[in-house]
Symmetry: C2
Subunit: 232 residues, 2 copies
Protein backbone atom coordinates (compact mmCIF):
# COMPACT_ATOMS: atom_id res chain seq x y z
CA UNK A 1 0.00 0.00 0.00
CA UNK A 2 1.38 3.42 -0.97
CA UNK A 3 0.78 6.52 1.12
CA UNK A 4 1.29 10.20 0.30
CA UNK A 5 1.50 12.73 3.14
CA UNK A 6 0.53 16.23 2.02
CA UNK A 7 1.87 18.60 4.66
CA UNK A 8 0.49 22.10 5.13
CA UNK A 9 2.69 24.16 7.42
CA UNK A 10 4.03 27.69 6.83
CA UNK A 11 7.15 26.96 8.96
CA UNK A 12 7.65 23.24 8.35
CA UNK A 13 11.40 23.27 9.00
CA UNK A 14 10.99 25.08 12.35
CA UNK A 15 8.20 22.90 13.73
CA UNK A 16 9.32 20.41 16.40
CA UNK A 17 6.19 18.30 15.86
CA UNK A 18 6.62 18.13 12.08
CA UNK A 19 10.35 17.38 12.25
CA UNK A 20 9.73 14.59 14.77
CA UNK A 21 7.08 13.02 12.53
CA UNK A 22 9.33 13.49 9.49
CA UNK A 23 12.26 11.53 10.92
CA UNK A 24 9.92 8.67 11.77
CA UNK A 25 8.41 7.91 8.38
CA UNK A 26 11.79 7.63 6.67
CA UNK A 27 11.71 4.02 7.85
CA UNK A 28 8.78 3.19 5.55
CA UNK A 29 9.53 2.58 1.88
CA UNK A 30 6.02 3.10 0.59
CA UNK A 31 5.41 6.45 2.28
CA UNK A 32 6.19 9.70 0.48
CA UNK A 33 5.77 13.21 1.85
CA UNK A 34 5.29 16.54 0.18
CA UNK A 35 5.19 19.98 1.81
CA UNK A 36 2.39 21.78 -0.07
CA UNK A 37 3.88 25.22 0.54
CA UNK A 38 6.94 24.15 -1.54
CA UNK A 39 4.83 23.30 -4.61
CA UNK A 40 4.01 26.96 -5.23
CA UNK A 41 6.29 29.41 -7.01
CA UNK A 42 7.10 32.80 -5.42
CA UNK A 43 4.32 34.36 -7.50
CA UNK A 44 1.84 31.75 -6.32
CA UNK A 45 1.45 29.44 -9.30
CA UNK A 46 1.29 25.65 -9.26
CA UNK A 47 1.41 22.98 -11.99
CA UNK A 48 -2.13 21.67 -11.62
CA UNK A 49 -1.93 18.78 -14.07
CA UNK A 50 1.38 17.58 -12.62
CA UNK A 51 -0.04 17.57 -9.08
CA UNK A 52 -3.20 15.81 -10.20
CA UNK A 53 -1.14 13.07 -11.87
CA UNK A 54 1.17 12.81 -8.84
CA UNK A 55 -1.71 11.49 -6.72
CA UNK A 56 -2.58 8.65 -9.06
CA UNK A 57 -0.31 5.94 -7.65
CA UNK A 58 -1.21 6.36 -3.99
CA UNK A 59 -3.82 4.35 -2.10
CA UNK A 60 -3.89 6.56 0.99
CA UNK A 61 -3.63 10.36 0.97
CA UNK A 62 -2.94 11.99 4.33
CA UNK A 63 -3.45 15.70 4.99
CA UNK A 64 -1.05 16.63 7.79
CA UNK A 65 -1.21 20.05 9.46
CA UNK A 66 -1.30 21.99 12.72
CA UNK A 67 -4.79 23.25 13.56
CA UNK A 68 -4.92 26.98 12.75
CA UNK A 69 -8.21 28.67 13.60
CA UNK A 70 -10.07 25.38 13.70
CA UNK A 71 -8.99 24.25 10.24
CA UNK A 72 -5.85 23.63 8.21
CA UNK A 73 -3.45 26.47 7.39
CA UNK A 74 -4.43 28.28 4.19
CA UNK A 75 -1.96 26.42 1.96
CA UNK A 76 -3.92 23.14 2.10
CA UNK A 77 -7.15 24.94 1.20
CA UNK A 78 -5.37 26.68 -1.63
CA UNK A 79 -4.04 23.35 -2.92
CA UNK A 80 -7.54 21.85 -2.74
CA UNK A 81 -9.10 24.85 -4.53
CA UNK A 82 -6.42 24.75 -7.26
CA UNK A 83 -5.71 21.05 -7.82
CA UNK A 84 -9.02 19.42 -6.86
CA UNK A 85 -11.03 20.86 -9.74
CA UNK A 86 -14.66 19.84 -10.06
CA UNK A 87 -13.78 17.99 -13.24
CA UNK A 88 -10.99 16.03 -11.51
CA UNK A 89 -12.99 15.14 -8.40
CA UNK A 90 -16.66 14.96 -9.45
CA UNK A 91 -16.68 14.27 -13.19
CA UNK A 92 -13.61 12.01 -13.47
CA UNK A 93 -13.86 10.69 -9.89
CA UNK A 94 -10.06 10.61 -9.87
CA UNK A 95 -9.65 9.96 -6.14
CA UNK A 96 -12.44 7.40 -5.86
CA UNK A 97 -11.66 4.35 -3.67
CA UNK A 98 -8.56 6.02 -2.20
CA UNK A 99 -8.41 6.65 1.55
CA UNK A 100 -8.24 10.12 3.09
CA UNK A 101 -6.39 10.41 6.41
CA UNK A 102 -5.95 13.52 8.56
CA UNK A 103 -3.02 14.06 10.93
CA UNK A 104 -3.77 17.19 12.95
CA UNK A 105 -1.61 18.61 15.74
CA UNK A 106 -3.16 20.70 18.48
CA UNK A 107 -1.70 23.55 20.49
CA UNK A 108 -4.67 23.52 22.88
CA UNK A 109 -5.54 20.41 24.89
CA UNK A 110 -7.71 17.88 23.04
CA UNK A 111 -9.96 17.67 26.13
CA UNK A 112 -11.00 21.31 25.56
CA UNK A 113 -12.70 20.29 22.31
CA UNK A 114 -16.18 19.25 23.40
CA UNK A 115 -19.58 20.74 24.07
CA UNK A 116 -19.35 22.89 27.18
CA UNK A 117 -15.52 22.95 27.01
CA UNK A 118 -13.57 26.10 26.15
CA UNK A 119 -13.49 25.24 22.43
CA UNK A 120 -17.15 24.10 22.33
CA UNK A 121 -16.80 21.71 19.36
CA UNK A 122 -15.16 18.32 18.88
CA UNK A 123 -12.28 17.71 16.48
CA UNK A 124 -14.69 15.51 14.47
CA UNK A 125 -17.09 18.44 14.06
CA UNK A 126 -14.37 20.93 13.14
CA UNK A 127 -12.99 18.59 10.47
CA UNK A 128 -16.41 18.09 8.81
CA UNK A 129 -15.38 20.03 5.67
CA UNK A 130 -12.67 17.41 5.01
CA UNK A 131 -15.10 14.58 5.71
CA UNK A 132 -17.63 16.17 3.32
CA UNK A 133 -14.88 16.42 0.71
CA UNK A 134 -13.99 12.71 1.11
CA UNK A 135 -17.70 11.92 0.77
CA UNK A 136 -17.97 13.95 -2.45
CA UNK A 137 -14.77 12.47 -3.88
CA UNK A 138 -15.84 8.89 -3.11
CA UNK A 139 -12.89 8.43 -0.75
CA UNK A 140 -12.89 6.45 2.49
CA UNK A 141 -12.53 8.90 5.37
CA UNK A 142 -10.17 7.50 8.01
CA UNK A 143 -10.52 8.32 11.68
CA UNK A 144 -8.34 11.45 12.13
CA UNK A 145 -5.03 11.04 13.94
CA UNK A 146 -4.69 13.75 16.61
CA UNK A 147 -1.27 14.83 17.95
CA UNK A 148 -2.20 16.38 21.27
CA UNK A 149 0.18 19.11 22.47
CA UNK A 150 3.42 17.51 21.29
CA UNK A 151 5.52 19.91 23.38
CA UNK A 152 4.21 18.42 26.63
CA UNK A 153 4.88 14.75 25.75
CA UNK A 154 7.53 12.81 27.70
CA UNK A 155 9.93 10.42 25.88
CA UNK A 156 7.73 7.34 26.45
CA UNK A 157 4.68 9.17 25.08
CA UNK A 158 6.66 10.33 22.06
CA UNK A 159 7.75 6.74 21.40
CA UNK A 160 4.12 5.59 21.48
CA UNK A 161 3.12 8.51 19.23
CA UNK A 162 5.75 7.40 16.72
CA UNK A 163 4.50 3.80 16.52
CA UNK A 164 0.85 4.92 16.32
CA UNK A 165 1.74 7.40 13.59
CA UNK A 166 3.64 4.83 11.49
CA UNK A 167 0.69 2.49 11.88
CA UNK A 168 -1.70 5.25 10.74
CA UNK A 169 0.42 5.81 7.64
CA UNK A 170 0.81 2.23 6.51
CA UNK A 171 -1.35 -0.32 8.34
CA UNK A 172 -4.55 -1.74 6.84
CA UNK A 173 -7.62 0.10 8.13
CA UNK A 174 -9.59 -0.17 10.33
CA UNK A 175 -6.92 -0.60 13.02
CA UNK A 176 -8.23 -3.92 14.35
CA UNK A 177 -6.00 -6.12 16.51
CA UNK A 178 -5.43 -8.46 13.55
CA UNK A 179 -4.44 -5.59 11.21
CA UNK A 180 -2.11 -4.09 13.83
CA UNK A 181 -0.36 -7.41 14.45
CA UNK A 182 -0.02 -8.09 10.75
CA UNK A 183 1.52 -4.63 10.35
CA UNK A 184 3.92 -5.14 13.26
CA UNK A 185 5.11 -8.50 11.91
CA UNK A 186 5.73 -6.93 8.49
CA UNK A 187 7.76 -4.10 10.13
CA UNK A 188 9.82 -6.64 12.10
CA UNK A 189 10.49 -8.64 8.92
CA UNK A 190 11.65 -5.39 7.26
CA UNK A 191 14.14 -4.62 10.01
CA UNK A 192 15.70 -8.12 10.00
CA UNK A 193 17.64 -7.81 6.72
CA UNK A 194 20.68 -5.83 7.87
CA UNK A 195 20.93 -7.31 11.38
CA UNK A 196 23.38 -9.87 12.85
CA UNK A 197 22.41 -13.57 13.00
CA UNK A 198 21.78 -13.29 16.76
CA UNK A 199 19.47 -10.31 16.36
CA UNK A 200 17.65 -11.97 13.46
CA UNK A 201 16.99 -14.97 15.69
CA UNK A 202 15.68 -12.71 18.46
CA UNK A 203 13.36 -10.92 16.03
CA UNK A 204 12.10 -14.27 14.76
CA UNK A 205 11.28 -15.26 18.33
CA UNK A 206 9.21 -12.08 18.74
CA UNK A 207 7.44 -12.71 15.43
CA UNK A 208 6.67 -16.30 16.43
CA UNK A 209 5.34 -15.18 19.76
CA UNK A 210 3.04 -12.62 18.06
CA UNK A 211 1.83 -15.27 15.61
CA UNK A 212 1.20 -17.73 18.46
CA UNK A 213 -0.89 -15.07 20.18
CA UNK A 214 -2.80 -14.50 16.93
CA UNK A 215 -3.59 -18.22 16.84
CA UNK A 216 -4.69 -18.13 20.48
CA UNK A 217 -6.99 -15.20 19.75
CA UNK A 218 -8.40 -17.01 16.71
CA UNK A 219 -9.15 -20.15 18.74
CA UNK A 220 -10.71 -18.04 21.52
CA UNK A 221 -12.93 -16.36 18.90
CA UNK A 222 -14.01 -19.81 17.68
CA UNK A 223 -14.88 -20.84 21.25
CA UNK A 224 -16.93 -17.69 21.84
CA UNK A 225 -18.79 -18.22 18.58
CA UNK A 226 -19.59 -21.86 19.53
CA UNK A 227 -20.91 -20.85 22.96
CA UNK A 228 -23.07 -18.11 21.38
CA UNK A 229 -24.41 -20.54 18.77
CA UNK A 230 -25.39 -23.04 21.48
CA UNK A 231 -27.17 -20.31 23.47
CA UNK A 232 -29.42 -19.40 20.55
CA UNK B 1 -23.96 50.58 13.34
CA UNK B 2 -20.98 50.07 11.01
CA UNK B 3 -20.47 46.93 8.97
CA UNK B 4 -17.43 45.65 7.10
CA UNK B 5 -17.86 42.97 4.44
CA UNK B 6 -14.69 40.95 3.89
CA UNK B 7 -15.11 39.20 0.55
CA UNK B 8 -13.11 36.09 -0.37
CA UNK B 9 -13.49 35.29 -4.05
CA UNK B 10 -10.72 34.52 -6.58
CA UNK B 11 -12.84 35.93 -9.46
CA UNK B 12 -14.85 38.61 -7.71
CA UNK B 13 -15.39 40.76 -10.81
CA UNK B 14 -16.66 37.80 -12.85
CA UNK B 15 -19.11 36.46 -10.27
CA UNK B 16 -22.76 37.23 -11.00
CA UNK B 17 -23.73 36.60 -7.38
CA UNK B 18 -21.02 38.87 -5.99
CA UNK B 19 -21.71 41.67 -8.48
CA UNK B 20 -25.43 41.53 -7.69
CA UNK B 21 -24.75 41.77 -3.95
CA UNK B 22 -22.21 44.52 -4.55
CA UNK B 23 -24.62 46.86 -6.37
CA UNK B 24 -27.13 46.44 -3.57
CA UNK B 25 -25.06 47.55 -0.59
CA UNK B 26 -24.01 50.82 -2.21
CA UNK B 27 -27.30 52.19 -0.86
CA UNK B 28 -26.10 51.84 2.75
CA UNK B 29 -23.77 54.54 4.09
CA UNK B 30 -22.41 52.56 7.01
CA UNK B 31 -21.45 49.47 5.05
CA UNK B 32 -17.97 49.09 3.60
CA UNK B 33 -16.65 46.18 1.57
CA UNK B 34 -13.18 44.87 0.98
CA UNK B 35 -12.10 42.08 -1.38
CA UNK B 36 -9.47 40.18 0.62
CA UNK B 37 -7.66 38.97 -2.49
CA UNK B 38 -6.87 42.63 -3.33
CA UNK B 39 -5.11 43.24 0.01
CA UNK B 40 -2.20 41.00 -0.96
CA UNK B 41 0.73 42.06 -3.12
CA UNK B 42 1.79 39.93 -6.09
CA UNK B 43 4.44 38.26 -3.90
CA UNK B 44 1.84 37.45 -1.26
CA UNK B 45 2.55 39.98 1.50
CA UNK B 46 -0.03 41.94 3.50
CA UNK B 47 0.24 44.87 5.93
CA UNK B 48 -0.86 43.04 9.08
CA UNK B 49 -0.97 46.01 11.44
CA UNK B 50 -2.90 48.13 8.94
CA UNK B 51 -5.52 45.40 8.47
CA UNK B 52 -5.79 44.84 12.21
CA UNK B 53 -6.40 48.56 12.77
CA UNK B 54 -8.87 48.72 9.87
CA UNK B 55 -11.29 46.46 11.75
CA UNK B 56 -11.41 48.65 14.85
CA UNK B 57 -14.30 50.93 13.91
CA UNK B 58 -16.74 48.25 12.76
CA UNK B 59 -19.46 46.67 14.90
CA UNK B 60 -20.29 43.87 12.49
CA UNK B 61 -17.75 41.95 10.40
CA UNK B 62 -19.18 39.83 7.61
CA UNK B 63 -17.20 37.09 5.84
CA UNK B 64 -18.70 36.76 2.36
CA UNK B 65 -17.69 33.93 0.04
CA UNK B 66 -18.82 31.15 -2.27
CA UNK B 67 -18.56 27.71 -0.67
CA UNK B 68 -15.50 25.97 -2.09
CA UNK B 69 -14.96 22.41 -0.87
CA UNK B 70 -17.19 22.95 2.14
CA UNK B 71 -15.37 26.05 3.42
CA UNK B 72 -14.32 29.50 2.25
CA UNK B 73 -11.86 29.94 -0.61
CA UNK B 74 -8.24 29.89 0.60
CA UNK B 75 -7.84 33.69 0.66
CA UNK B 76 -10.10 34.13 3.71
CA UNK B 77 -8.20 31.45 5.61
CA UNK B 78 -4.94 33.09 4.63
CA UNK B 79 -6.22 36.46 5.87
CA UNK B 80 -7.29 34.86 9.17
CA UNK B 81 -3.94 33.08 9.59
CA UNK B 82 -2.01 36.29 8.83
CA UNK B 83 -4.07 39.10 10.42
CA UNK B 84 -5.81 37.31 13.29
CA UNK B 85 -2.68 36.64 15.30
CA UNK B 86 -3.07 34.94 18.67
CA UNK B 87 -1.94 38.16 20.33
CA UNK B 88 -4.57 40.21 18.48
CA UNK B 89 -7.47 37.80 19.07
CA UNK B 90 -6.75 36.00 22.35
CA UNK B 91 -4.42 38.26 24.36
CA UNK B 92 -5.74 41.68 23.32
CA UNK B 93 -9.28 40.44 22.61
CA UNK B 94 -9.40 43.00 19.79
CA UNK B 95 -12.62 41.74 18.19
CA UNK B 96 -14.48 41.18 21.45
CA UNK B 97 -18.17 42.28 21.45
CA UNK B 98 -18.19 42.65 17.65
CA UNK B 99 -20.57 40.54 15.59
CA UNK B 100 -19.43 37.96 13.06
CA UNK B 101 -21.73 37.36 10.09
CA UNK B 102 -21.28 34.85 7.27
CA UNK B 103 -22.74 35.30 3.78
CA UNK B 104 -22.17 32.07 1.89
CA UNK B 105 -23.32 31.31 -1.64
CA UNK B 106 -23.97 27.74 -2.73
CA UNK B 107 -23.58 26.12 -6.13
CA UNK B 108 -25.35 22.96 -4.94
CA UNK B 109 -28.91 23.08 -3.58
CA UNK B 110 -29.18 23.97 0.11
CA UNK B 111 -31.60 21.04 0.55
CA UNK B 112 -28.74 18.62 -0.25
CA UNK B 113 -26.96 19.69 2.93
CA UNK B 114 -28.41 17.40 5.60
CA UNK B 115 -27.86 13.97 7.10
CA UNK B 116 -28.76 11.36 4.48
CA UNK B 117 -28.66 13.97 1.68
CA UNK B 118 -25.96 13.95 -0.99
CA UNK B 119 -23.77 16.36 0.99
CA UNK B 120 -24.38 14.60 4.35
CA UNK B 121 -23.77 17.66 6.57
CA UNK B 122 -25.69 20.87 7.25
CA UNK B 123 -24.34 24.33 6.45
CA UNK B 124 -24.25 24.96 10.23
CA UNK B 125 -21.97 21.95 10.73
CA UNK B 126 -19.67 22.84 7.84
CA UNK B 127 -19.25 26.40 9.15
CA UNK B 128 -18.30 25.23 12.67
CA UNK B 129 -14.68 26.43 12.28
CA UNK B 130 -15.96 30.01 11.87
CA UNK B 131 -18.33 29.59 14.81
CA UNK B 132 -15.46 28.25 16.93
CA UNK B 133 -13.39 31.25 15.88
CA UNK B 134 -16.15 33.68 16.92
CA UNK B 135 -16.37 31.84 20.24
CA UNK B 136 -12.61 32.14 20.81
CA UNK B 137 -12.58 35.81 19.78
CA UNK B 138 -15.51 36.71 22.06
CA UNK B 139 -17.61 37.72 19.06
CA UNK B 140 -21.35 37.20 18.64
CA UNK B 141 -21.88 34.64 15.89
CA UNK B 142 -24.81 35.64 13.69
CA UNK B 143 -27.01 33.11 11.94
CA UNK B 144 -25.30 32.60 8.55
CA UNK B 145 -26.97 34.10 5.49
CA UNK B 146 -27.17 31.50 2.71
CA UNK B 147 -27.49 32.49 -0.95
CA UNK B 148 -28.94 29.35 -2.48
CA UNK B 149 -28.05 28.80 -6.16
CA UNK B 150 -28.29 32.44 -7.26
CA UNK B 151 -28.27 31.47 -10.95
CA UNK B 152 -31.66 29.77 -10.62
CA UNK B 153 -33.46 32.67 -8.90
CA UNK B 154 -36.24 34.53 -10.76
CA UNK B 155 -36.50 38.35 -10.57
CA UNK B 156 -38.94 38.31 -7.62
CA UNK B 157 -36.67 35.96 -5.65
CA UNK B 158 -33.69 38.18 -6.42
CA UNK B 159 -35.58 41.20 -5.14
CA UNK B 160 -36.35 39.40 -1.89
CA UNK B 161 -32.72 38.25 -1.63
CA UNK B 162 -31.61 41.87 -1.96
CA UNK B 163 -33.83 43.14 0.88
CA UNK B 164 -32.89 40.20 3.12
CA UNK B 165 -29.22 40.79 2.40
CA UNK B 166 -29.38 44.53 3.17
CA UNK B 167 -31.18 43.67 6.39
CA UNK B 168 -28.48 41.13 7.28
CA UNK B 169 -25.82 43.79 6.76
CA UNK B 170 -27.36 46.59 8.76
CA UNK B 171 -30.40 45.65 10.88
CA UNK B 172 -30.16 45.07 14.62
CA UNK B 173 -29.86 41.37 15.43
CA UNK B 174 -31.69 39.11 16.09
CA UNK B 175 -33.99 39.75 13.13
CA UNK B 176 -37.17 40.05 15.19
CA UNK B 177 -40.27 41.65 13.69
CA UNK B 178 -39.64 44.83 15.71
CA UNK B 179 -35.99 45.06 14.55
CA UNK B 180 -36.96 44.46 10.93
CA UNK B 181 -39.67 47.14 11.02
CA UNK B 182 -37.36 49.61 12.69
CA UNK B 183 -34.79 48.91 10.00
CA UNK B 184 -37.34 49.31 7.20
CA UNK B 185 -38.59 52.65 8.56
CA UNK B 186 -34.99 53.93 8.80
CA UNK B 187 -34.37 52.89 5.16
CA UNK B 188 -37.55 54.65 4.03
CA UNK B 189 -36.53 57.82 5.89
CA UNK B 190 -33.14 57.64 4.13
CA UNK B 191 -34.70 57.46 0.68
CA UNK B 192 -37.04 60.45 1.27
CA UNK B 193 -34.38 63.19 1.09
CA UNK B 194 -34.01 63.54 -2.69
CA UNK B 195 -37.60 62.74 -3.66
CA UNK B 196 -40.42 65.04 -4.85
CA UNK B 197 -42.97 66.36 -2.34
CA UNK B 198 -45.60 63.89 -3.63
CA UNK B 199 -43.29 60.91 -3.22
CA UNK B 200 -42.19 62.10 0.23
CA UNK B 201 -45.87 62.19 1.25
CA UNK B 202 -46.41 58.67 -0.09
CA UNK B 203 -43.37 57.36 1.80
CA UNK B 204 -44.62 59.05 4.97
CA UNK B 205 -47.93 57.23 4.54
CA UNK B 206 -46.10 53.89 4.31
CA UNK B 207 -44.03 54.75 7.38
CA UNK B 208 -47.16 55.73 9.33
CA UNK B 209 -48.88 52.53 8.34
CA UNK B 210 -45.87 50.44 9.51
CA UNK B 211 -45.78 52.34 12.80
CA UNK B 212 -49.53 51.85 13.26
CA UNK B 213 -49.03 48.12 12.79
CA UNK B 214 -46.19 48.19 15.32
CA UNK B 215 -48.58 49.79 17.81
CA UNK B 216 -51.20 47.14 17.04
CA UNK B 217 -48.68 44.36 17.61
CA UNK B 218 -47.59 46.00 20.87
CA UNK B 219 -51.17 46.21 22.15
CA UNK B 220 -51.80 42.57 21.09
CA UNK B 221 -48.69 41.51 23.01
CA UNK B 222 -50.02 43.32 26.09
CA UNK B 223 -53.36 41.48 25.74
CA UNK B 224 -51.66 38.09 25.42
CA UNK B 225 -49.53 38.84 28.47
CA UNK B 226 -52.63 39.81 30.51
CA UNK B 227 -54.48 36.61 29.54
CA UNK B 228 -51.44 34.49 30.45
CA UNK B 229 -51.04 36.26 33.78
CA UNK B 230 -54.70 35.58 34.62
CA UNK B 231 -54.29 31.89 33.72
CA UNK B 232 -51.43 31.38 36.18
Amino acid sequence: MKTLILISHPQFEDSGTQQFLKTSFYSLDDVKYQVIDELYTATGTIDIEKEQNALRDFDRIVFQFPMYWYSSPASLKRFMDDVFTRNYIVAKRSLKTKELGIVVSLGDAEADFQAGGPEQFTISELLRPFQAFANKAGMTYLKPFVVNQFGYLDPAQKEKLLVDYLEYLSAEMPLSLANREQWLVARLQDTKADKSADLQQAIDLVINSIEDQQNNVESLKQDVKMIRDQEE
